[in-house]
Symmetry: C2
Subunit: 228 residues, 2 copies
């Protein structure tokens, strides 16, 4: 009986995510190759089963960037992960300790964050690999004083600040007769994932704006990265 | 002596606004024809000296829109203006009682709101006339609990809800390697200027985002209206 209920749950989950996947694809242009369903990042994680992340040589900083040699915090939002390590160990850490962080290849993808309507702080993270680099896409929901909530969406380059200056990214939220777009330069992950200090490099929006673009509790963000 | 100090003040104001005008023009494409320097709307006003607003027949609602016949509030944000009147009296009211509300002609203009950094709630309003209609452009700064501030920017059509469905507008904030864009459908002014209920039809952003795009206390918003 337990087996059948598990199977039923799996099938229902599959149908639900497939439906959201199709909705997210239809909301954007046909040029988008990939849609990634991203669940909130849990604080306790285990090894990934499907999409292992690996370090590529191109994200290692150049010898000139001495400031990037220090220990860096995990780029996942929130304070739940206490990991620190050098730049080149971030991808292996995400693969080993954050199984919900999947990896997409391509310059234009759709980041589909699920359950954004649930109460409390949360974070959604994925890795986008393109243009010879790895980028970390982050959506964070912060709960501030008196229950005021805000969302921050931003892109980090797994590389140095200098390398990050060579790229730009665009986030696009598409709704019924409404469209919100944000273009900016990614930050090098060495500048720190502390989202409060990142807010000038982030798309910041409130709960009402999030609800405007949310469909069945999921928020689809089209992310396009280009070299500038 | 008083005469000379007044003259000096006038010249300094002129130089300052001319500088802001040129900065705002350079921030956007050459296709933009008009830049409007918009000061916060005062609560006590008098007759305008330069840009009188006049009612054009095309904003009169059709006979089918019976719901639009009721008395409407002044579209200026805040509760300082208690005026109410029919749709066709709004433009004459703005001309007579809100001298800071100027009028621009063209489908693409730059709305330059000054002194957005000053503390407290404030509103900036102008009228954009194009495509045979008049649109009210509103930027509002709201101060909420515990000093939390937010900005709302939106467009109202001086017409019915049905007429408004035939248009779309785009707000563009341009900064150094950053760009925020919002596309939506204007609301008919008969739906009410109460900005709290408008937030799903508004570009909503916080103080940090405003500071990102502010230059010398002025926020330039490129407004483009098109028929959809």
């Amino acid at each position: 009986m337990l087996f059948f209920s598990h199977c039923l749950g799996f099938v229902l989950d599959f149908v639900h995510f497939r439906y959201q996947y199709c909705k997210a694809r239809s909301a954007f242009s046909a040029a988008v190759q990939l849609v990634c369903v991203v669940r909130p990042t849990p604080s306790v994680t285990h090894l990934p089963s499907r999409t292992p992340l690996s370090l590529h040589r191109e994200v290692v900083p150049s010898a000139e960037d001495l400031s990037e040699k220090r220990l860096l915090a995990c780029p996942c939002p929130g304070a739940s992960c206490k990991w620190e390590g050098p730049l080149e160990a971030i991808l292996p850490h995400l693969a080993a300790s954050h199984h919900s962080v999947v990896r997409l290849r391509g310059e234009s993808v759709v980041f589909l964050a699920t359950n954004v309507h649930l109460p409390g702080s949360a974070g959604w993270v994925t890795v986008q690999s393109c243009l010879g680099h790895h980028f970390v896409l982050v959506l964070e929901k912060q709960v501030r004083q008196e229950g005021h909530q805000r969302f921050l969406a931003f892109v980090l380059l797994l590389g140095t600040s200098r390398q990050a200056q060579g790229f730009s990214y665009r986030l696009l939220l598409n709704g019924k007769r409404r469209r919100l777009s944000w273009e900016a330069t990614p930050r090098g992950v060495a500048e720190g994932p502390a989202s409060s200090s990142l807010s000038t490099d982030s798309l910041v929006f409130d709960t009402v704006m999030a609800q405007t673009f949310t469909n069945n509790g999921s928020l689809a963000i089209k992310v396009t990265i280009s070299s500038s």
